[in-house]
């Protein structure tokens, strides 16, 4: 919380999203505050249903029209409030200042248009130019994501490309207008291991080159360890812990983070019996009293079940926070 707000590129404060369904309404994004600096990669970790994709879509202001509404908070990009922009102004931000890489390369490209057309579309909207310059910049975008023979590839349809190649094209669309922030929503989940490694290296290189900030949404702590500078851990719509990656791995402050890290078998080292987290996460519509993790937590006491913990500093430095009663007592 002490990340000074002046050098933050994207600053999110107390963001709340409400989803209304027939079964009732709930807050998949519940009082989120975080920020990212230029050139920084922030990991957003959580399991399915933790609300991490909903956070991403609310930053883009692309929540499903009727079902979900932003219910408060602020999202500032370079000091400019995004939540109060008109839809028209917001459209100019999307793709130009904030861009996004979606999860599934098989379905995130339009099968009816060539990849060149799809890259060009973004360029045309945000940085118009002549036919020739647009084509050159399209090819350049493909070259930057290391697609071989980009002059030929611009005329290909997505159906003619492999999964890894398509995800590069999605990347090319995202970076084509040189955005300040890229949100990557599990971009490598459906890729093979060796292709995933290529893609992560590519993202790193692009970040070094342009200084963009990356919000990397994932459920994989391995990627976080490898790629991110800081991380926030989400559980049932709440941020339970946030801080620098090294600190969180070395000394996780929240029992959920701790359990999650030790529940993943290690590629090297000893084969001890794995720690398990009993039970399962609450359904989104469940009414949660107290700490949402309490039913599965080995340290939980009466207060954890009755009262929601506040967000507090986990150590002296102030860049590591958690919401857990144990940290409050410590």
């Amino acid at each position: 919380m002490n990340t000074s707000q002046t050098d933050a590129l994207l600053d999110v404060r107390n963001l709340k999203v409400e989803v209304t369904t027939k079964a009732g309404s709930f807050f998949p994004v519940n009082d989120h505050s975080f920020s990212v600096k230029s050139g920084e990669t922030l990991g957003i970790v959580g399991e399915s249903g933790s609300g991490k994709s909903m956070t991403a879509m609310s930053l883009m202001r692309l929540l499903p029209k009727h079902a979900a509404k932003i219910r408060g908070g602020s999202v500032k990009l370079d000091g400019r409030e995004l939540l109060t922009l008109s839809e028209k102004e917001m459209r100019k931000v999307r793709g130009a200042d904030i861009s996004m890489i979606l999860q599934d390369p098989q379905t995130s490209l339009n099968p009816a248009f060539t990849v060149g057309d799809q890259i060009k579309e973004a360029l045309k909207l945000h940085a118009p130019g002549g036919r020739k310059t647009l084509r050159e910049r399209t090819i350049d975008a493909l070259r930057r994501v290391k697609v071989a023979a980009p002059e030929h590839r611009v005329n290909s349809y997505p159906g003619e490309m492999s999964g890894g190649m398509r995800q590069r094209v999605v990347g090319a669309i995202a970076i084509s207008c040189r955005p300040k922030v890229i949100i990557a929503d599990e971009p490598t989940t459906s890729l093979d291991v060796t292709v995933q490694a290529q893609y992560l290296r590519l993202l790193k290189e692009l970040q070094d080159e342009t200084g963009m900030a990356i919000l990397f949404i994932t459920h994989d702590f391995g990627i976080v360890a490898n790629l991110c500078h800081r991380v926030i851990v989400m559980y049932a719509g709440r941020i339970v812990e946030s801080g620098p990656v090294a600190k969180i791995f070395a000394k996780p402050a929240h029992p959920y983070t701790e359990a999650l890290i030790s529940a993943v078998p290690s590629l090297h080292g000893q084969k001890e019996r794995l720690t398990t987290i009993p039970g399962q996460p609450p359904a989104p519509t469940d009414i949660v009293v107290g700490c949402p993790f309490a039913p599965r937590c080995q340290y939980a006491d009466a207060r954890c079940h009755s009262e929601a913990p506040p967000t507090v500093a986990a150590d002296q430095s102030g860049d590591h926070t958690t919401s857990c009663w144990r940290a409050v007592e410590a």
Partner: protein, 323 residues
């Protein structure tokens, strides 16, 4: 390997013929699995690892007799699996079971848990209904679900619970081999470790052998005794899990392990990022199929000659011209 293997695959191959066009007679042959040789010992876990299109799923389908091989054979307890008939086949069916990846599609939504778990018994063995019930309750107990769940329908369970039910059903006939096809990759991280521990416990208790198929190397290392690394339908390296992970010999294994991300930050590693993607099995490269992506290519021999998987004295096999 000290014990006699319970399962032996010899020169196991599966080729598919795909017609290239509707009007023409031109066809392609896809060598989904080509010339596999491996054994599984009693109580052992052998893992097949590799990326999409490497043939590991086809291999499991051959072992489970869901498909017939084009060449080669699978022998289980000394008998050719694909020649079994009648009572012998039923016996094989109850001795070899499977757990599949997706807990949502691997249980028939219209069948009660009791009937789902009991199916291997009902189909293959002549037991009284009371005996079946007893065995089902035992199996549900063993996976940590009470017998009270037996009369429920699958949609009342979460993913992790479903995977437990699938394991109960696979273990109910006390099989000697269970094929685990990506048993945890459809589950959330916090649920995975529960299932991994359960599988370990099952093996310790019943002495069952596992054939594990996984793309997650950390899970593999945790569960498997031996590993076979596959690339484009062939095994490129096979050996004890620790040997393969700590001292990978084949360049592909090296790259695969280096690509798997460490679970702790800042860990030093020798990162090898391969170029390109797995080629289409429709037109595999000549010679060593890995040569177009290989970072340790040694010359024309890689392009022209298919390497042979050869064991060293310790039983570690590598199929590469480097060795």
């Amino acid at each position: 390997m000290t014990e006699t293997p319970i399962l032996e695959a010899r020169n196991l191959s599966k080729h598919f013929t795909i017609s290239a066009g509707v009007m023409t007679k031109r066809t392609h042959v896809v060598r989904a699995v080509d010339g596999l040789n491996f054994d599984i010992a009693k109580g052992e876990t052998l893992a097949l690892v590799g990326e999409s299109g490497c043939g590991k799923t086809t291999t499991t389908r051959l072992l489970l007799r869901l498909q017939d091989p084009t060449h080669g054979s699978v022998r289980f307890a000394g008998e050719d699996v694909h020649a079994l008939k009648g009572a012998a086949l039923r016996k094989y069916r109850s001795r070899v079971q499977a757990v599949f990846q997706d807990p949502w599609s691997s249980i028939n939504p219209r069948v009660r848990i009791r009937d789902f778990v009991a199916e291997p018994l009902v189909v293959n063995e002549n037991l009284t209904s009371g005996e079946v019930d007893r065995r089902v309750h035992e199996a549900l107990d063993a996976v940590g679900l009470g017998p009270a769940h037996a009369s429920k329908f699958p949609h009342e369970f979460s993913g992790g619970q479903r995977q437990r039910i699938a394991i109960a059903s696979a273990m109910v006939s006390r099989p000697e081999l269970v094929v685990l096809d990506e048993p945890v990759s459809g589950l959330d991280v916090s649920i995975r470790s529960q299932i991994i521990n359960l599988l370990k416990d099952m093996q310790a208790e019943y002495g069952v052998s596992f054939l594990l198929v996984a793309h997650d190397l950390a899970t593999t290392r945790y569960l498997a005794d031996r590993v076979a690394v596959m690339y484009l339908g062939s095994i490129v390296e096979m050996g004890k899990t620790d040997d393969v992970f700590d001292r990978p010999s084949h360049p592909y294994t090296e790259a695969l392990i280096s690509a798997a991300l460490p679970s702790t930050p800042g860990m030093k590693r020798n990162e090898i990022v391969l170029g390109g993607e797995v080629p289409s099995p429709l037109s595999p490269p000549s010679g060593c199929t890995f040569h177009p992506r290989c970072h340790r290519i040694i010359g024309d021999v890689c392009v022209s000659k298919t390497p042979v998987l050869s064991p060293d004295p310790a039983g570690h096999c590598v199929g590469c011209h480097l060795y």
